[in-house]
């Protein structure tokens, strides 16, 4: 990748700052529904960005990123439910529980990395989806711990109110952007890129393949789990469909693919597009098939006609134009 001249860097930083400040003050001017819609969008874009750390940077298709989102939500709810004394001790204790929940998910990711990264390509993709289904089934079966099909409801005292939840989720999505950007600038990012290009070649120059992949997975699940915790705490309940629905693990993939994987901006562009489509589908159109089916069709169209995503298509056109 070519070095970015300092001027552009400064200008880019300025643009990011302006957008951020705009997003911070935005809730003042919006209805509650729109703020919730944005909150929802931030959560999914976070997972999409995290997905792209493996999917785009490393070239490993992780169809189970939603596992860590839902897992985070369930972890904090299970802790809160089974240790009511701790949770009631105040906001600081609640933050402590969130930290513990995220740590549990990170550890879980570090462990599942061992079987998962024995696979490549299609097998890896399906195994990650299998992991997602496994966690769903376990939550359904372990009723005493997880509430089974009913889910877990918290007393209203624990809810995170809307404005605060919005700002925190904005923080998480910003963190994810920062993580992706920083990784693309570090040795870890270079290593991941090398692995994507050719694993034997990467191994030959001394890159520890498994450590790199495992580290990338663990880093990628932390913001996802954090977003899951926040998502659950804002709405006050978790159940399988709300935090571990198939859409939670697939929409991020669709977003990243639509925007263009391997680019920091890709999942954001795709995410915004999908959210716009989603909101208009639900509110303004009557559908012949359920929303998940429409996403399926979108996925097919991406696969058939623009396998590299919208951004890649645009930049290629721009790059080709002056030469022609």
């Amino acid at each position: 990748m070519a070095r970015v001249p300092g001027v552009f860097r400064g200008r880019r930083l300025l643009a990011v700052g302006v957008v951020l400040i705009g997003l911070v003050v935005l809730p003042r001017f919006l209805t509650r529904d729109l703020v919730t819609a944005l909150f929802f969008a931030f959560a999914l874009i976070t997972v999409a960005l995290n997905y792209d750390l493996l999917g785009g940077f490393l070239g490993y298709l992780n169809l189970g990123q939603g596992t860590f989102f839902g897992g985070g939500a369930y972890a904090v709810f299970i802790l809160t439910k089974h240790m009511p004394g701790v949770a009631a001790a105040g906001p600081l204790a609640l933050i402590g529980l969130v930290v513990v929940a995220v740590a549990i998910i990170a550890l879980f990711a570090a462990i599942v990395a061992y079987p998962l990264f024995r696979l490549k390509g299609a097998y890896f993709a399906m195994a990650t989806f299998g992991l997602f289904l496994l966690v769903r089934q376990l939550i359904l079966n372990l009723e005493r711990l997880t509430g089974g099909a009913f889910g877990i409801y918290l007393p209203p005292g624990y809810y995170v109110d809307q404005r605060l939840a919005y700002w925190l989720m904005l923080g998480v999505v910003t963190l994810s952007v920062a993580v992706n950007y920083l990784i693309s600038q570090t040795r870890l990012g270079v290593g991941l890129h090398a692995i994507r290009e050719s694993e034997p070649a990467a191994a030959a120059i001394g890159i520890d393949l498994f450590r790199h992949k495992q580290t990338a997975l663990v880093i990628s699940v932390i913001p996802s789990a954090l977003a899951g915790c926040l998502f659950g705490l804002h709405f006050g309940y978790v159940d399988l469909e709300s935090v571990l629905g198939v859409d939670k693990t697939l929409l991020p993939v669709i977003m990243a693919m639509l925007g263009g994987t391997g680019l920091v901006l890709g999942p954001i562009v795709g995410g915004v597009l999908i959210r716009v489509i989603d909101v208009s589908l639900k509110n303004y159109l009557t559908l012949p098939i359920p929303a998940l089916g429409v996403y399926g069709l979108i996925l097919m169209v991406i696969g058939l006609f623009m396998p590299e995503g919208i951004l890649a298509g645009l930049t290629r056109r721009r790059r080709v134009a002056p030469r022609a």
Partner: protein, 301 residues
């Protein structure tokens, strides 16, 4: 434990496990042949089993057609569907670089599976039955051998599996297209050099494979009902079988399928049916940790 394991029950469980596993093996074989010959992973593979289950339920149970004409219609219909699927979802990927084929195929077939499941569930609930389940009953007398009685339905399923596996075997070893398919799976470019037409192989493998998969859906629901959203789970089962048995291997698929089928049945017997789905993924991960190359040996694409 819910009840005692008598020899009679043990035998029933084994028969159940082997007939279930046989269906899995058949489905997995079709998936892995497609993967080996075209490098396309058909994530929607399990959805075709669901399609078979739904179509046969509709024809036999709701429209009241008798089995023989139904079977003729279903075979023709499934073959047509397989052919169209190849044309729309597989053909456009040919000619892309191998890693692009893989990602493209996952996107397209995953999308297809989602759209299919959503559409089927929605319209079945709207037009046929608000609680969509696909199942058929076959009244068969029990067969008594040496003092133990065996479920006639299970034996019918087993007979179907044996017949289908035999047909697959003959197809691969005796027919020209079958030989070309094996050649292309062993060495893609080496086969092209001989003049093998990859499109002919691709369309044949998908048509035959999806026909077999959809038919196995019909036989599957004689014993176990299916719902519109079971497709992706079934694909996962097929992939587990492939991980155990290796890509494109018929004996490997049989071994993998039967291991899973028996695990399923015994888990359900000992811990209850809700734990069966868990075991598939666990077996999958355990095999990966113990023998990443699979029990028979695996060639990853």
């Amino acid at each position: 434990m819910s009840s005692l394991l008598t020899p009679q029950i043990l035998l029933e469980l084994l028969l159940g496990g082997i007939s279930l596993g046989g269906i899995y093996a058949l489905m997995a074989l079709a998936l892995s042949l497609a993967l080996a010959t075209t490098h396309i992973l058909n994530v929607a593979h399990g959805s075709f089993m669901v399609l078979g289950a739904a179509a046969s339920t509709l024809l036999i149970k709701y429209l009241g057609l008798s089995p023989v004409p139904s079977l003729v219609i279903l075979v023709a219909g499934f073959a047509l569907v397989g052919w169209v699927f190849e044309l729309v979802c597989v053909r456009p990927l040919q000619g892309r670089a191998p890693d692009r084929i893989l990602i493209g195929s996952i996107l397209i077939t995953f999308g297809f599976a989602l759209a299919f499941e959503a559409g089927l569930g929605f319209y079945w609930a709207k037009l046929v039955d608000p609680q969509p389940t696909f199942s058929l009953t076959l009244t068969m007398p029990r067969l008594t051998l040496w003092g133990v009685s065996l479920s006639g339905t299970r034996l019918v399923i087993l007979a179907f599996v044996c017949l289908a596996v035999l047909v697959f075997h003959l197809f691969l070893t005796k027919t020209p297209v079958g030989k070309m398919a094996r050649a292309i799976a062993q060495d893609y470019e080496g086969a092209l050099i001989l003049g093998v037409n990859p499109r002919l192989v691709s369309v044949t493998i998908f048509t035959v494979g999806l026909l077999a998969t959809a038919l196995s859906g019909l036989f599957f629901i004689l014993a176990t009902p299916l719902g519109p959203h079971d497709g992706l789970r079934l694909t996962l089962v097929a992939m587990t079988v492939i991980v155990i048995g290796g890509v494109g291997s018929l004996p490997g698929a049989l071994l993998g399928g039967i291991v899973l089928g028996i695990t399923d049945v015994f888990t359900a017997f000992v811990f209850g049916a809700v734990w069966s789905p868990v075991t598939y993924v666990l077996v999958f991960f355990v095999v990966l940790l113990v023998r990443p190359q699979g029990l028979v040996g695996i060639r990853q694409g």
